[in-house]
């Protein structure tokens, strides 16, 4: 009885995480039933992953930017610009596809340096700099493409967006073997990693997660991966972009949890002044953060262009909003300091499944927009409600702060009720 109560108490504390998972499952089940099983059909699962990959890549970069307390509105235009440049390079300049990919990622880095410079070193709010970037890179896209579309692209390049890993079964087996191997290995790796982490936390007496919940979560995640593996193996195998996405997820989750850089990003978003006074090089971290976002936006642009086999001046329109929505649905705080890569990915999946499911059901785009808007609002409202219910341990302090950096500390002293005379 006590165990049950403490488990419930724990879950109440984790309401946001649990809620996100439950929301994802409910949405999947809802569409699975209402589309008569099309949602989880092998071909649709494969499409879901491929068609949302670029938003998920953007969401990874975006969640980091938002954790640091900034925003990036330019990513949609950067996607288009990089797509345009890849088209120009490959079809007009005759650059080999692999070199074009490298050069395009470098262009993304340059874009990030440009915006990062104004934000970090010049002190212009990211909202303004990236709003300007949204316009300038859209303009540059149109200049580069001379308002024309560019197509087609070589097959090797296209496989980045829509290719699959080779079929080891030679197209004869019902379940593609390579996909099954990857899926099973990934599942085992995940379980081992989870167990090791839990063991380490237990050793240091840090574990407050009930064992039953831990097992539930692990079994659920493992089953989810196996299910996806099974479905993919029943169609054309593993999309190459899924491998890219998987590697990015693992790498960036680790970066945000365990690298000095990732810690500094959280520290800046949580309390910029405290970070500065702890010796964090706030400007440098902010700058590199936007360089990173630029590279990821470039990668998303390559994937998108490869998938459509088309460089289009209108490409990427509104992607920034989808990525930002994904991050907030995934539980990041508007004021910075809170958020996870995993959360942003689940947020992105929720949006992707909503898009996909509603399209299958034949819901008009006007209603799709409406519903997505309400989902975003509901997710953040839930956050705010949750925080208020928890008593807002840090609310009052943060709201009261209006001081600019380097203003007089003793004059701007908060007046505690007890002792300021």
């Amino acid at each position: 009885m006590f165990a049950l109560r403490s488990a419930l108490h724990y879950l109440a504390g984790q309401l946001r995480q649990v809620g996100l998972f439950i929301a994802l499952i409910v949405i999947i089940l809802f569409f699975q039933v209402s589309t008569n099983g099309i949602t989880l059909a092998p071909i649709n699962v494969s499409n879901l992953i491929v068609q949302n990959s670029y938003i998920l890549i953007l969401a990874i970069g975006m969640v980091m930017v938002i954790i640091a307390g900034h925003i990036d509105l330019s990513v949609g235009s950067v996607v288009a610009f990089v797509g345009a440049m890849s088209g120009v390079m490959i079809t007009q300049w005759g650059v080999p596809w692999w070199l074009a990919i490298i050069l395009c990622l470098a262009i993304g880095a340059l874009v990030g340096m440009w915006q990062g410079f104004w934000i970090a070193y010049f002190g212009i709010p990211a909202f303004i700099v990236t709003l300007a970037g949204m316009l300038t890179f859209r303009g540059l896209t149109q200049i580069a493409l001379q308002n024309q579309q560019i197509s087609p692209f070589p097959d090797e390049f296209r496989s980045l967006g829509s290719g699959f890993l080779p079929d080891l079964g030679g197209g004869t087996s019902a379940l593609e073997p390579l996909t099954m191997i990857i899926g099973i290995v990934a599942t085992i790796a995940l379980v081992v990693q989870d167990l090791r982490q839990r063991a380490a936390r237990r050793k240091h007496n840090l574990e407050d997660e009930p064992f039953a919940w831990f097992v539930c979560k692990m079994v659920f995640t493992a089953l989810l991966i196996l299910l996806i593996t099974y479905l993919l193996a029943g169609y054309r195998g593993t999309p190459i972009v899924l491998i890219v996405l998987g590697l990015l997820t693992v790498a960036y989750s680790a970066v945000m949890a365990n690298s000095v850089w990732g810690r500094h990003i959280y520290a800046i978003g949580g309390n910029r002044f405290a970070a500065e006074l702890s010796g964090v090089k706030v400007k440098r971290v902010t700058f590199t953060l936007f360089v990173n976002m630029g590279v990821l936006a470039a990668l998303a642009g390559l994937v998108f262009t490869a998938q459509l086999n088309l460089a289009n001046p209108k490409a990427g329109d509104g992607f920034e909003l989808d990525a930002i929505a994904a991050v907030f649905i995934g539980g990041a705080a508007v004021t910075g300091g809170i958020g996870t890569v995993m959360g942003a990915l689940i947020g992105g999946l929720i949006i992707g499944i909503l898009n996909n499911g509603m399209s299958i059901l034949g819901v008009g785009t006007e209603y799709q927009q409406l519903i997505k808007g309400l989902v975003l609002l509901a997710a953040v409202a839930f956050d705010v409600f949750n925080k208020r219910r928890a008593g807002g341990s840090n609310g009052s302090g943060r709201q009261r702060r209006k001081t600019t950096p380097r203003s007089a500390p003793s004059e701007a002293k908060t007046r505690t009720p007890v002792a300021s005379a």
């Binding site: 949580g270 705080a333 341990s393 840090n394 004059e411």
Partner: protein, 510 residues
Amino acid sequence: MTTNILEMRGITKTFPGVKALQDVSLEVQRGHVHAICGENGAGKSTLMKVLSGVYPAGTYEGEIHFENELCEFKDIKGSEAAGIVIIHQELALSPYLSIAENIFLGNEQARNGFVDWNKTNLEASKLLARVGLNDNPITKITDLGVGKQQLVEIAKALSKRVKLLILDEPTAALNDEDSAHLLRLIKHLQAQGITSIIISHKLNEIKAIADKVTIIRDGRTIETLDMHKDDISEERIIKGMVGRDLDHRYPEHEPSIGEEILRVEDWTVHHPVDQSRQVVKNASFNVRAGEIVGIAGLMGAGRTELAMSIFGHSYGAKISGHVYKNGQEIRTNTVAAAIKHGIAYATEDRKHYGLNLLDNVMRNVSGAALDKLSRWGWVDSNKENLVAEGYRRSMKIKAATVAAVTGKLSGGNQQKVVLSKWMFANPDVLILDEPTRGIDVGAKYEIYTIINQLADEGKGIVVISSELPELLGICDRIYTLSEGRITANIPREKATAEYLMQYMTLEKEA
């Protein structure tokens, strides 16, 4: 029929765990300038907040009689309607609105819902003339200096037909000329029949303009002195402000003092916005290994500014001077450089400058020295856990695990997290700014013990504090700071509260 405009009787105000005011009484005679004196934290501002309705009737005990009527103000609007206006040290003007708009903010000179600009600006200029400010009323507040902003606040008060004007540390942020003007204005308003209460640390100002002075200490009224009747000296007021005994609130400590470890020379810092104002003026001081050095100064004396400007130029503009570490001159232009040279600064304002309240204890503890825990940019979280857990135990941080969110800890425990962070960074010189602010007596004792331990490890400790007994209780040597100048260097044997206060209130270099 008394001649008192205000009588506050038996005011008691409690906050959870603290009695901020205890049976305080205050009588202010009509047409007087009445000063209120007391150390930082004595309860002056709380008393004024009770009076002005910031703490509404019912949240305190006692009675307020204003103009012979019992008043129970529900909010500031209530007290303002009665004619009581308080001007806080932090001015409450909207920077991008004009002088006239600010004066009539919330009280717009409107006709049929539309602002009558002619009337607004005309009435504003009349009020400005009364306070001796001849700027155009359409000037934006942000274009005015602090001194003039103060005058706009007073003009705003006059527009509300003020009868009792309360000024909280009005000259703390002003230069000499502006201060003199403000004091003249207060006398001038007095001649027009406006009663003033002035809270000030500057005893010479009180002597110059006050008719009576009430001294508050530890939340109680100590005495009210008539400045005209007896020739009250500054020493007399100081005695009232500090007159209490040191009890055994401080651990015994036998210092073992070594070589000089840090020396600061000719340190001058200007205000970051008003760069003509020197906040720290030619300050020089030193710290030796194993020594606990105090810096005493009243609010606005430049204590925090001195410390933060040394620590990576985190405060101020046009900083000049020299810092020597073990005899070698070092540059501390960035926080990272300061930390690398073994200097650490634990802020007075842990919520805003010290901690990431959203994150857990572990990550706050490791925050200033992640490089010690990482290789190739990756943090060894196992080691991090062990380190944080070690501090949780040794510092007795009351948190279930080091994964607890710091925002949910009590003030004392948050302070221990801040200290742990800097102890882990292992500096040679540790500057502690108000290390015991807002924490209870028991936790204070623990923190004093930790400070002593750090000194015994051979570190140089600088303690900045508003509480004189604290400095007297733990420091081996105390510098006094007044208006940005170091006015004295007093060894422990000679230090008494009166002696310190004399130098803390010293106006000009002799």
